[in-house]
Amino acid sequence: MTTPKRANRKEIKDKDFELIRAINSGRFDRFPDLVKRYEQKLYNFSLRMCRDAADAEDTVQETFLNVFRYVKNFRYETKFKNWLYRVAASTCIKKRRKSKFAPERELSLDEFFPQDETEVPDQVPKWALMPLDKLLNDELLDKINEAIFTLPEKYRLVIVLRDIEDFSTAETAQILNLSDANVKVRLHRARLFLRDRLKGYFENE
C-alpha cells in the first residue's frame, strides 16, 4: 500500500516518525512498541466496523501484518496514524464483505427531512436540552453503539473516523480515498440516521 498521491509533499512532524524510522532502518524488535501503541485504538475501530469480536480480532491481526508488510512504503508525507487507519479501513472493508450485519444501502437526505406538517417539530426535545452529563448513562452509550452498528458500512466508516476517532474531513478523505465533498455528504447522512435512532429511543423511553 502506498501513500496517497494527494498527501502533502512537505515532511510533517509526527510523534510516530521516530519509531517508524527505527523499524524501517532494521529495528524490527521495535515493532511490538507500535502494536502496543495502537492495539486498543485499532481493536475498537475494527469492533465498530465488524461488530463481531472474533472478526475484529482477525482484522486487527491482519492490519498489523499488512503494516509490517508495507511500512517500508511509508513516505512520511502524512501522519503515520492516518496511513495506519488507511490500512485498517481497507482490511476492515475486505473482512466486512463476508459479514452478515447491516446490509448495504444508500441513505437519502429525503428520508430524514419531515415529509408532512405533523412531523415538523415545534420545540427542542428534552434530550437535546439537558446537560450532557445528566443525560449520559450506560444504557444510552449502548444505544449509541447499537445505532452505529446499524449504519450501512460506507456511512459508518465516515462517522467513526470523523466523530469518534476525531480525524478531520481532509484526513478522512485521505484515509478512505474519497473527496472531501463525499466525506461531508456521508457524514451528514450518518448523523441524521443516528439522530433519528436517538429520537426514537428517547420518544419511546
Binding site: 492495539e39 501484518l65 415538523v120 437535546a128 449520559l136 449509541i144 466523530d163 461531508k184
Partner: protein, 88 residues
C-alpha cells in the same frame, strides 16, 4: 415562522448544510444564512439542536479494553513474524 408557514424549499437547502455548519466548514455567507434562518424557523432550529446533540453523544462512545487473550495472541504472532518484512 411558525409550523404552518414552514418553507420546505429553503429549509431543505439549509438542511443539507447543517453538519458543515456544526463543523465550521461553511463559508461565511452560508454560515450567516443558517444563523439568520434558525432565528426565524423553529423546525430548523430544533433540527440543528438535535443534530448537534447527536454529534456530542457520538463523541462520547467509549472504547472497550482489548481482551487479554487476544493481546497475548497478537504478541505471539508478532514475535513469530520473520525478522525482515517480505519483499514486494
Amino acid at each position: 415562522m411558525n409550523k404552518d408557514e414552514h418553507d420546505h424549499k429553503h429549509c431543505l437547502e439549509l438542511f443539507e448544510k447543517l453538519s458543515e455548519y456544526l463543523d465550521n466548514e461553511l463559508d461565511e455567507v452560508s454560515g450567516k444564512d443558517i444563523e439568520k434562518h434558525i432565528k426565524e424557523c423553529v423546525p430548523c432550529f430544533v433540527c440543528l439542536q438535535t443534530l448537534k446533540r447527536t454529534v456530542d453523544l457520538c463523541k462520547q462512545a467509549e472504547d472497550r479494553p482489548v481482551p487479554k487473550d487476544f493481546s497475548k495472541k497478537l504478541k505471539e504472532v508478532i514475535q513469530n513474524m520473520p525478522k525482515t518484512p517480505p519483499a514486494g
